[in-house]
Amino acid sequence: MEAYWYWICHELYLERVWARELLHCYGSPRAVFEAKEEDIKKRFPKKAIKYKEIFQRRRAWEPKRALEELKRAEIAFYSCAAREFPTLLKKMPDSPLGLFVRGSLPREGELTVAVVGARRCSSYGRMTAQSFGGILAQRGVGIISGMAAGVDGYAHRGALERGGVTYAVLGCGVDICYPGQNRDLYSAIPERGGLISEYPPGTPPLPRLFPLRNRLISGLSRAVLVVEARERSGSLITADLALDQGRDVFAVPGRIGDALSEGCNRLISQGAGIALSPEKFLEELGVEGAGKSPGEEKNKKSLESSEFLVYSCLGLQAQHIEEICRKTRLPLLQVMKILVSLEIKGCVCEVQKNYYSRDSVSSSKTEIY
């Protein structure tokens, strides 16, 4: 039966409503596949012209062989009727007809959180996404995101760095790596989680597919965390969808006046949860023993007093060297040396040439001797 489901997902992934009507009409995917062309035309006269090509292609389609080819390409297919199909999605209103997966789907009952945000993010967004992704994943939470540039990618990276599980829901076929800059994620995620898409392999990343895949990101997760979002952005669409699906929405607060945090701050004012730190967030999610952070011992670093002075000036917003000089009242050359030594110790990072910020959210808790 999966073979016929595959055909339906392959041809009608954008016509879920019609596909459901067809299924309702004929009873099973196999019956739809084998239905006479004239019969379908008679029942759905409006669609007939538009889907002439589908009928044409159907003649050459061999369901069994097509499914085998899919297996050979190491892509798993789960129809919405399959046992493995996530229950979370089954309950969703506009649920997909099937999923294509490289790697694995989230286990039934696995705690999953979506981390989403702007593609063009600031160093603040990057650090937050990476450390939330990392720490949550370390505590056994599956991180779900869209493998886009910016926040999405950093959330995945954070999870992978800390040995966690992470799932990427793509807006194209799972055999296509988009965007190209995330090639490292594309190859690493299937081994530690999965690449998931409702679009059949070979589907190019078309702009209209992405808003639709956002409903899967929120649908697959228990809660959605928005890290950085402008007013009117794709991340806010995800947040809206999440609310429709009955998921909790959290947002990372930002400074007022920062264009990139306007969306997040608005969400908070509308009643979204505030993600103050990864630990607090875990507590809210109800993860046991959230207050402690076992793997953080190595973060204890010894800093000299002048290093501490510079370090305490820095935040997650990148600052230029000269700004740091003004704040600390230290001479330029000394600040340069301190920054390099802090960088080597892993406390700060050079986000852009001569712009520095703290290395991660958790290191703001670094104990300093």
Partner: protein, 516 residues
Amino acid sequence: MFGKILSADVRGIDGFGVSVEADISDGMPLFLMVGYLASEVREAGDRVRTALRNCGILLPPKRITVNLAPANVRKAGSKFDLPIAAALLAALGVLDPRELRGVLMAGELSLNGEIHGIPGILPMVETARNMGCTCCVVPKENLREAALVNGIQVLGAAHLKELLPAENPGKRGVFSALHSPEEESGRTDLLGEPSYGVDFSEINGQETVKRAAQVAVAGMHNFLMIGPPGSGKTMIAKRIPTILPPLTLEESLELSKIYSIAGLLPEKEPLIRERPFRGPHHTITPVALTGGGRIPMPGEISLGTNGVLFLDELPEFQKTALEVLRQPLEEGEVRICRSYGTYVYPARFMLVAAMNPCRCGYYPDFNLCTCGPGEVSRYLGRLSQPLLDRMDICAEAPRLSYEELVGKKDRETSARIRERMVRVHKLQRKRYQGSGYRFNSDLGGEGIEKFCPLGPKEEELLKNAFQRLHLSARACHRIIKVARTIADLEEATHIGREHLMEAICYRALDKKYWTR
């Protein structure tokens, strides 16, 4: 009758001797010019014949042959007019062939006999001296330029008549009517304080970039500035020549030779005293940058020799134009091949480049930057990694605050900084004597091992930085070279931890990490 005189042509920046021979013999009336000549040299025949007639000398209706030897080298330019005329005069018996021995001539004739200036006089006079000539006759316009060469007598001629004994009765000797160079144009006032008209002390704020620029100058490192529009990148670049040590006489002559060939040497000031600053527009073609043409002429990189080549808006340059810079940056000279020979021009310049961090110029300020997600990396993607690898020092200029803009602090003048640079350059010259290197920036892998040993503490630091900051081997070499320069600025014999740290701060971000 036979007449002969020396002249010279220029290939690359060096001249070579050309002997101009004229023969007048019986036969069908004919004026024949031979010796692998370019068309402008062939036309010299008509110019010379007319000029001679207008000076009262008629060529006899005989078979006249003019040969320019060596005959296997192509000769070009209008500089052979005067020597051809002189050789003909000798063949006619007007000039005494004995007086022309050991004399080199060059100049262009106009139809009425006036002598015009020509480019490339300086290398030609130098050739004359090296060939053992005693006297050079050059156009009067070029006299000051020719007088720069020591150890040879130079004379200026403004008109062909000045060479004719019949026109100058009462004067003894063939060249007695010619002009001698004025005394003050000699070499005495050559190396005065250079004056640039701008000064380093005029720059407000931008302490990081200013310091980085000084380190770059101290070791002649290539320098990349990143910053939003209006942050003063161009202003700083324009002032970099002012803190370079004054030109030495050799550098100055070399530079003057290049400008002489390019025909850019001003008549009044024939010696280039100031470090050049070449800032070509970003629409420049690769050929204009390297030099070229049918008869290759020096390009911007050669004209910037011993000075600064400034490329503003680096990513806007044609990709090919940037890539052709790679070989000259490595070798310090540029080779231009033509079917009739290879021209070599010096190209030892300090490359200073400036660019915006993105197309709109405000990245990473997200409240101002209007670039889309892929645009920033696409903009930076126009630079190739090999070119970035050649930029030793990289610094970002932040946007200025109002306080910085109007703030008037006691800032160092160019002259003060220059003194320091002179010391550092001297230090390097002494260290690299006989090694083939000139500055810290020239060091290769072997040179780094030999001249930049690191102590155990420093090794440890570099190792940590290498692992932690994902440095490449190339980046590591650059850091050591720059650290050597910083140590030199403090006149320290060994590279210390603090020198290395500052050098790490100047490293160019590897593209991989830059574009994310």
